[in-house]
């Protein structure tokens, strides 16, 4: 069941995790993977949760594999439209080949 697919990656602030997950689910993606992250971008340094004990603004890296490149782009558009102006955010896509998944 090898299948060409699109990996969409969104790195943004942790506070948006639920909101972005809701957007992803609304586009009928078959799933997503969440990874805690820190980083540096145009919005200053953000910690990976380790150093600063009061860091409420750690990042999250969200990966979504979609069979259809268009839905990846639609998710990206929805997220960037709603949040990118006000929140730390970078979004990219990357073609991958899925070797196994329960559904896609």
């Amino acid at each position: 069941m090898t299948q060409q697919a699109t990996r969409l990656v969104i790195v943004t602030e942790k506070v948006l995790t639920k909101a972005v997950a809701a957007i992803i689910e609304s586009y009928d993606a078959s799933g997503y993977t969440l990874i805690a992250a820190g980083g540096m971008g145009s919005h200053n340094t953000r910690s990976s949760g380790e150093p600063s004990v009061l860091d409420h603004f750690g990042n999250i890296k969200i990966e979504v594999i979609t069979a259809d490149p268009d839905s990846a782009k639609k998710i990206a558009d929805a997220v960037s439209e709603r949040y990118a102006a006000d929140y730390a955010c970078i979004i990219y896509i990357d073609p991958v080949e899925v070797l196994y998944s329960h559904r896609l």
Partner: protein, 325 residues
């Protein structure tokens, strides 16, 4: 004056300053976020439990006036920031409003520090006084979010209608208020005396000292963020805690005259007014005023506001209480 000297040697302040110093010296000591959050939970649960157990027989009608005052002060602090900090040309209006919201909101750790000082100086206060926390915290956050939206509307005509209930709910669900209210409920409705006496109370002061160390380290490490925004934030953060505390002290004094609100209660009202939120406030504001820059308001509150509120504010209000009562 000697009160201040003694105060600087008290564990609360000594650990706060110690934290600032070792952070400035570049220590690699780290106390993890999970421990930090657990300590805050333990402290606020303890404060809540004690309050809850004590108010079983209290006359809660007495609480009405101070609670109203707390609401007024919380709202008033944000309004003041709107016409001062947020008006400055170097300050983005939304950043000024958000900072006002954070300073109107309440810090659980500052409250806990005040309680330790009051207890060690044997100054009595109404046991429901810590329960004034949400009456000031929530209106301040709501007010800031409403003001910011009114501002955006005025400027762009695009802001959506602000729904107030979600902000209140979000505040009540925050970890600090949850722990405090849970403690009050357990103290009021159940019999937690055995664990209070064997666990939550004996650990209170020690855990507070660790928390103060963390707050100190945190204060130092946020100064860099504060440096990147207008210097007015630092000025506001240094002055506002004491102005707010003194205003609240004045209103508290009024309540003392009118309804016999105790001197210790007045101090607590001043402390929560002078404190600025460090746990629950920031995420609420981040969601409610997304365009405001968190470096501005978190930096101002953590780096300058909280150290001033603890190191200067608490002894000041106590000294004042001893002078005027």
């Amino acid at each position: 004056m000697s009160r201040f000297l003694i105060q600087f040697q008290s564990p609360t302040l000594a650990f706060l300053i110690g934290g600032i110093v070792i952070a400035a010296l570049g220590t690699r000591l780290v106390i993890s976020e999970s421990i930090y959050k657990f300590i805050v939970f333990m402290l606020l649960l303890r404060v809540g439990l004690e309050g809850g157990m004590s108010i079983r027989e209290a006359n809660l009608a007495e609480m009405i006036l101070p609670a109203l005052l707390a609401v007024m002060i919380g709202i008033g602090i944000v309004l003041i920031s709107r016409v001062t900090l947020a008006m400055l040309p170097a300050v983005r209006t939304e950043d000024g409003i958000a900072t006002g919201g954070l300073f109107g909101a309440v810090s659980g750790s500052t409250l806990a520090a005040a309680i330790v000082v009051l207890e060690s100086e044997a100054i009595d206060y109404e046991q429901w006084a810590p329960a004034l926390y949400p009456f000031m915290d929530i209106p301040a956050l709501v007010m800031a979010i409403v003001l910011a939206n009114l501002y955006f509307k005025g400027r762009e005509g695009t802001a959506e209608k602000v729904r107030i209930w979600p902000i209140i709910k979000e505040s009540l669900q925050g970890s600090a208020l949850s722990a405090l209210l849970l403690g009050i409920a357990l103290g009021l409705l159940t019999r937690p005396e055995s664990v209070y006496e064997s666990f939550y109370d004996p650990l209170f002061r020690g855990l507070l000292s660790v928390l103060m160390l963390i707050m100190g380290m945190e204060a130092y490490s946020r100064i860099q963020e504060l440096r990147r925004v207008a210097h007015w934030f630092a000025v506001y953060a240094a002055v506002a805690p004491l102005v707010h505390g003194l205003i609240a002290f004045g209103f508290g004094y009024l309540a003392h005259v009118l309804t016999g609100f105790s001197p210790g209660g007045v101090v607590i009202l001043a402390v929560i007014a002078g404190s600025s939120s460090d746990i629950s406030g920031p995420p609420t504001l981040r969601a409610g005023i997304p365009r405001a820059n968190p470096s501005a308001y978190v930096g101002a509150s953590t780096s300058v506001g909280t150290p001033v509120a603890i190191a200067v504010g608490i002894p000041l209000y106590i000294a004042l209480a001893e002078a005027v009562f």
